[in-house]
Amino acid sequence: MPSQYIPILIVAIVVAVFPAAALVIFKRNHKASETAEAGETPYERELPPEDAAAGNYSERLYIAGALFVIFDVAIVFLFSWAIKFSQMGVYGLFVMLPFVGILLAGYAWLYKNGALDRI
């Protein structure tokens, strides 16, 4: 089994070296005078930021993140179930229905409480 991962390791190294080397070459080809001076604002657009980066952010983003964790973990179980489904038959379906049912009940609760309106 590990032998299948040897080509992946080799390609990963090649693939990592390519952009790194390209970036270094790009860097070396520029004289110091051509690089931006330290202290410049990080925006070519000259519009100063309204607020510090470490400010408040919309709750919408946090809700999306929390929901993602819940549903993505559920998908992990669904994947392994789906692979073995054809061997399990009707039993497989009825085993999975409660799992998905609980998930969808949670989804309905979120829906009712308006969490999805805030995304």
């Binding site: 390609v11 390519f18 990080p42 952010y57 919309s58 999306a64 497989g92």
Partner: protein
């Protein structure tokens, strides 16, 4: 936050600030300008007949731009890591995609999981690149991109799971083999799964005008704006590589991978081992080649003539390869023809993505994210259950698969329509804190 002052729009209107962010923010000209000339900022030093090469010149220009900003607040490590990880992640995914039965770097038994896992790391392209600037607008863009990516990643995985019910394996090679054994591409067994994956691939590759998570006119993504040099070039390389990966996954999983259409129809020419349908692609490419070479003879501009002749020549070589391998050993034949069909399907899928990008107007990022959670993800769950029931009904109940598939598809689409009807069309107003 409602009490921010002044707002972006007001600031942009003041003459002592930067001009309209739409003007200065984007190097990509509006679509109607594209038809008339190249990038409006590009120096037009090229000879009029060579203007075709303007995009190439633009790319070379990228290499000559000044090295990225080094603002005092910048985080150097993440600034360097972001484009590197982008390219590595994008190119690693190609490893397990089978380009024909003969061409595959590694046939992992967890192939599909490997692809999903690696491509989820795309987040590490978006967030560190924007984090490094320590700039609020950039970070808002990154978080929006990340939120949209996560939302659609979930639905895409659920869409793919419906295929695993049929294939019973995660290995990409075995998924294609299962489509050959069961006599149909999986798009015909789980059409809703394909639809969900297609929508998600539009959203996660940021390909569509439909989904500009960085919302150019408001906050301009930092990894586009600040790194319009080689860092940015690597970043957009990764973005385009991701489109090909999405097309490759869809081709492998739903569109039969390297299989030709009607793969189970195997009638041969009498007395030979050549299958009837294998001749068609070779003949079609040969016809294209002949057409190009013929129209290349007509009097016309030199550059057109050259393009026609080159296209004709390349197609001629391809046709020779396709027709010649018909008489080669079985393995060589399957390899070349499989690669041909795989590339054609990937190209067609990407064409559809671009088509949709140009055909439909944009939607705000939050509308997209909300549509994913309100419609797509519950619909994907329902699709999984109905697909499982359809498979059971045909395996154990003895009903024809065609019938059960149609019933399951109609039920799923009906549920999705009901979900969509219930969703409010207008989102809550966008605020300056990233929402």
């Amino acid at each position: 936050m409602a009490d921010h002052s002044p707002t972006k729009a007001e600031a942009a209107e003041q003459p002592d600030h930067a001009p309209d962010p739409l003007q200065s923010g984007s190097e990509v000209p509006a679509q109607d300008e594209l038809g008339q000339r190249g990038s409006p900022q590009a120096p037009e030093f090229l000879h009029p007949r060579l203007r075709v090469l303007q995009p190439v010149a633009d790319d070379v220009k990228v290499l000559l731009k000044k090295d990225g900003w080094s603002a005092a607040s910048a985080d150097r490590v993440t600034f360097w890591i972001a484009p590197l990880s982008a390219v590595i992640i994008a190119l690693l995914t190609y490893l397990v995609l089978p380009v024909g039965p003969a061409f595959q770097t590694s046939d992992l038994n967890i192939g599909l999981l490997f692809i999903l896992g690696i491509s989820s790391l795309t987040i590490y392209r978006i967030v560190p690149g924007n984090w490094s600037s320590e700039h609020r607008d950039s970070l808002i863009g990154a978080l929006r991109s990340a939120a949209q990516f996560l939302s659609y990643e979930t639905a895409a995985a659920l869409g793919l799971a419906s295929v695993l019910l049929l294939s019973g394996s995660l290995s990409t090679k075995e998924i294609v083999q299962a489509q050959l054994d069961q006599g149909q591409w999986f798009i015909f067994y789980v059409p809703v799964g394909f639809l969900i994956f297609f929508i998600c691939s539009l959203a996660t590759t940021n390909r569509a005008r439909v989904s500009p998570p960085e919302t150019n006119s408001e906050i301009v993504a930092a990894h586009v704006m600040e790194n319009r040099n080689f860092h940015g070039a690597l970043d957009s390389l990764a973005e385009y590589a991701n489109i090909i990966v999405a097309a490759g996954i869809a081709t492998t999983v739903f569109l039969g991978g390297w299989l030709r259409p009607l793969a189970s129809y195997r009638d041969r020419f009498p007395g030979t081992s050549v299958e009837l349908l294998d001749v068609l692609p070779g003949l079609a490419v040969a016809a294209i080649s002949a057409y190009c070479l013929r129209s290349g003879r007509r009097p016309q501009a030199k550059i057109r003539k050259a393009v026609m002749n080159w296209t004709g020549g390349i197609c001629g070589v391809l046709a020779a390869a396709l027709l010649g391998t018909l008489f080669a050993p079985e393995n060589a034949m399957a390899g070349v023809h499989g690669a041909f069909w795989f590339v054609v399907k990937v190209g067609a899928y990407m064409y559809f993505c671009l088509w949709i990008r140009f055909a439909f107007p944009g939607l705000q990022f939050d509308r997209w994210t909300r549509r994913s959670w309100r419609i797509l993800i519950p619909a994907a769950f329902i699709n999984l259950i109905t697909a499982a029931m359809a498979i059971l009904a045909s395996q154990d109940g003895g009903l024809p698969m065609r019938f059960t598939t149609i019933v399951a598809t109609v039920a799923t689409l009906g549920a999705a329509a009901w979900l969509a009807k219930d969703s409010p069309a207008d989102p809550v107003a966008q605020t300056a804190d990233g929402g």
